[in-house]
Point group: C2
């Protein structure tokens, strides 16, 4: 059983702040500054160019890929790290479209907009009758037909926390010959995921949210073993080449998912990610999921008891929800600013959503209760109407 | 006049090493570890999510873009930073192809292979009769015809240091209606460049070589003002959207080059880059160019006098050369390993090139003379044949 009191002590949490925004940017692991300093001083500083081999920089994208792969149920050697999530979405989508003659990319309105934008950009370039079809989240299953080339979804809705049935939708897609791309931005590190067990074709995600890799931490991509040697990389970069340092004039894709590497990997960001993965290596994702569901349930009960004006926007059933809880309020933006000014940091998503993320690694039941107290005071006293609050907010 | 004794003192250079590989990975500025530590501890650690605004993370890609823009002669507000060079090549190439009905991408065999690979990957996806035509560097001018859509070149040949006539080729291309993409990987920070004066359409480059941004430092892209509001971003990411935080379902490109931003920027890498740009902000590129030409000339003269077995692979005329000097030798790989083992760090490029980069910021005439002495000893005594050398090399 994971000892969450111990993990909490591994993070630097600002004084007098209850940080419920780890689903946007995870907090700093205490070990990260020293780990990054080592890469700067002992590796870059002393080894300079030889750091690529001597410090293992060149191997990091695949090493980190495997460490993340364990958390999402990937087979070893089938995840790599680099670039940003949007770029990895683009790579997966282009590779998927190259595998089929069908023309429809199916997604939903609960997907993160950038994923939809990347599809738009790709379609505008490729032409050929490709179509992005965006349905409501609850209509996805019905929209799966043999006309669909690719099903591209984010498992957890970034606004409401609504959780898609990844196993069920993937199974249904596979029977119809539809290729699946799962965006695990709000899943990796938030809950147990089983990409291999589900039979997903591609999965992508970021490492700056629940995985605590830091601002601008790199993304990851999973390619199912059955596609590993055939997936066609549209971003055919030299580090995805079979022999990067042969400097051949023509492109030959590297082995498996390594072909999804593109340019020079972000060594300093990867050092920071290594420090957080040192924590994750010790974690059982089933423990995280159980603790996260309990924290979210406790938060919902507390807020609903104390704040009748807030309307739950997340599924009430923990099994249908990711690791966040959202409430709607017409004054949501101002109310969230007031919560933040009083030490409870969540965030706001248009038009009216107050979003709170729960990460058992560093949030415990005491934090939940304290957060509920602050939110109750903000809502009951409408603290955002307080001129003193505005004076204070103006200087922070 | 830049005081290079002063700038040399701003870098950490490993003891007993003459580092002539800043054209591959620049050395560590002494100020970088503290700058990065500040981002980790004071910004990420204390501000967490609010760092995006309070610490200015969101503005960094454009701020850094302008600082780099000054070094390459770009108009203010037309350079942005992010991703890797290969990704920026892809973006520029896709945007250029969307502006024309022509089908030929012209490049040369002196281009960095990854640039050619990215063109290959894009062509394979787009189809439509696009063709990558690769000629010898000296044949580029003659290959410019009204059949050519895009001229995509690296200004400085990564192997030989041969410098293209950027102004002349760009002018010739413009009269023929050809769009130009210049890769400045070995130019930015190495010499004075004038993208605006040349009339280049796009320029891209990296910041981990001469600009000393560190391993995995982000790339940059320049889009000429005349294309700023029409260039179509194939990588249509949310941070290139006109209103990223409106989370609209459809993509609307942002203002100017900001549309070439894609996903979340690499904040920690950008912090490191800021530290090196603090040095670059004080530098006159004309001084760098003059000092670099003098160092390279001195090196050529020294090596040719002492090592008759080495054949100059770089142009003898400094005006036709970037900031590196390459020599050919049949045993080039082993000879370079021996140089490195004896404290002179250059690198090897297949099949037979020993490559040495000169960066006046931290290399002076004394270093050149000392390097020549070591290389002379390695070559005269064929030190790579020495069993003691192999024993030593095996443990480093």
């Amino acid at each position: 059983m994971t000892d969450f009191a111990k993990t909490k002590d591994m993070f630097h949490l600002p004084e007098e702040m209850i940080y419920l925004d780890g689903n946007s940017l995870g907090p700093l692991p205490k070990a990260t500054p020293a780990r990054v300093a080592r890469t700067l001083t002992d590796e870059w500083g002393e080894m300079v160019i030889t750091g690529w081999n001597r410090a293992g920089w060149m191997a990091q994208p695949m090493d980190l890929g495997d460490r993340i792969g364990r958390l999402i149920g990937a087979e070893e050697g089938h995840v790599t790290v680099g670039d940003t999530l949007s770029v990895k979405v683009f790579q997966a989508l282009a590779a998927a479209l190259a595998m089929t003659d069908r023309k429809v990319i199916l997604s939903d309105s609960g997907n993160f907009p950038s994923d939809l934008y990347m599809a738009e950009g790709l379609i505008a370039a490729l032409g050929g009758g490709l179509e992005l079809r965006v349905v409501d989240p609850e209509d996805v299953a019905n929209a799966l037909t043999d006309e669909v080339a690719v099903l591209m979804l984010t498992q957890v809705d970034y606004r409401t926390g609504r959780l898609h049935d990844m196993a069920g939708l993937t199974a249904q897609a596979r029977t119809l010959g539809i290729i699946t791309i799962w965006d695990l931005a709000h899943s990796a590190g938030a809950m147990d995921v089983d990409v291999a067990g589900c039979g997903a074709d591609f999965a992508v995600g970021c490492t700056y949210k629940y995985l605590n890799g830091g601002p601008g931490a790199p993304a990851f991509i999973y390619v199912a073993p059955r596609h590993a040697e055939t997936a066609r990389p549209i971003l055919a970069g030299w580090l995805g080449h079979a022999a990067p340092f042969a400097f051949e004039q023509g492109y030959r894709p590297g082995d498996g998912v390594a072909r999804m590497r593109v340019g020079t990997p972000p060594v300093i960001q990867m050092a920071a990610l290594e420090a957080s993965m040192d924590i994750w290596d010790t974690i059982d994702m089933a423990d995280i999921r159980a603790a996260s569901m309990a924290l979210c349930d406790r938060f919902i009960a507390g807020v609903e008891a104390a704040c009748p004006d807030l309307t739950l926007a997340s599924p009430r059933d923990a099994a249908a929800r990711g690791s966040q809880v959202s409430f709607r309020h017409p004054q949501g933006y101002a109310a969230m600013q007031a919560c933040i000014a009083h030490g409870v940091v969540g965030d706001f998503r248009a038009p009216d959503i107050m979003r709170f993320g729960f990460t058992p690694l560093f949030i415990d039941a005491g934090d939940v209760d304290a957060a509920v107290d602050v939110i109750a005071r903000v809502m009951t006293d409408r603290l955002w109407d307080d001129p003193q609050f505005h004076a204070k907010a103006a200087v922070t």
